[in-house]
């Protein structure tokens, strides 16, 4: 399974016009997106595949919005998360009471975004491996297996990194 470095490498080469790299990138992203959506939409197989395709199209057609100086997986999952929120919002429109809940979702999302800046600052203080493991499992909501795949390390390594990272964070917060 592709790591951040591999994915980013393909992405950057795709941005330079390399169709083969773009193909590898999208092919590698498809199963990542599939498990991302499958875990959040239990038992709705068609919806999952629709969302995977929608997300791949968006990742391809809106790749101009990717900044080469920033992590690639965070960008790709941000696109996926948007597609998921959009999906839930559309579904809710069929079931009536959209207004209030729409606002709640949007608000919650904003809060999450602003909290993320503080989290980014904190995670910058611990080792990159631990930070990445925590970010993937606790913030992006990936499973341990997905995080292991994305970082190219073992599942046990992810679990240990999360545990040690959280301990280090707690120690830092107490020290502050």
């Amino acid at each position: 399974m592709a790591s951040e470095d591999q994915l980013k490498g393909w992405m950057v080469r795709g941005l330079d016009g390399d169709a083969a790299a773009q193909n590898r990138l999208l092919t590698a992203l498809a199963p990542m997106m599939r498990s991302f959506f499958a875990r959040r939409l239990r038992g709705a197989g068609d919806d999952v595949e629709d969302l995977v395709q929608d997300t791949l199209i968006a990742i391809h057609t809106r790749r101009a919005s990717y900044d080469r100086d920033r992590p690639f997986t965070a960008w790709a999952y941000a696109v996926a998360r948007y597609k998921m929120i959009d999906h839930f919002r559309r579904q809710r429109q069929h079931v009536s009471f959209e207004g209030l809940e729409d606002i709640l979702v949007a608000e919650g999302y904003q809060d999450a975004a602003s909290a993320k800046m503080d989290v980014d600052g904190l995670l910058g203080e611990i080792s990159p491996k631990q930070a990445s493991a925590i970010r993937r499992t606790k913030i992006d909501g990936l499973s341990v297996a997905e995080a292991a795949e994305a970082d190219g390390i073992s599942e046990a390594d992810v679990k240990v990194s999360v545990h040690r990272g959280l301990k280090a964070l707690a120690a830092r917060l107490k020290g502050k």
Binding site: S65, Y82, A113
Partner: protein, 213 residues
Amino acid sequence: MRTEDLIQSLAAQTRPVSAHAVEQRLAIGLVAGGAVTLALVLATLGLRPDLPGAMMNAHFLMKAAYTIALAVVAVIAVAHVARPEATRMRAAWLVVVPVVVLGALAAIELATTPSEHWLPMWLGSSWRQCSMRVGVLSLPIFIGLLWSFRQLAPTNLRAAGATAGLAAGAFGATLYGLHCPEVSASFVVTWYSLGIAIPTAIGAIFGPQLLRW
């Protein structure tokens, strides 16, 4: 369609993308929209007759500095919210700086003017038209920015709509300044700001519908 086939057909159309694609795309939208707005100003309102000389005077420069400062902050914010992983922008509060500075100038202006002149100074000769004209003139620029967003990926659509509206309003107001002969700081800080607020509010309200992808 099978996902594998989709990937093949997407990858087959892989064109190079510049490292500054976001900035370029926004610049094209702004310039194209701005050209339409400028044409509207020239065709329907006309430049102020004293323009070449007026460009050197302090009132004209104050007005231009105000709207350009707002436009710069707004465009930086637009470039920020155009990326999907954008976090809340702490620098967005900078947008109040030009308003506060001009507000202070307006206060100084009022303090140094006899109170019977306050009302004519504040209302000028065009307060009824000013805000609405700025609002209308910002529309082509707003549409230009909507076009820019089509290859970008805003995820907070309300913020994206509002910042695009603010940028369009501030640019539209700058171009309207080529026509508008008003000179007082209190006029500009009230009626120009109100005009800029119109597209900003429209963007915030309709952003979620207009910018969905």
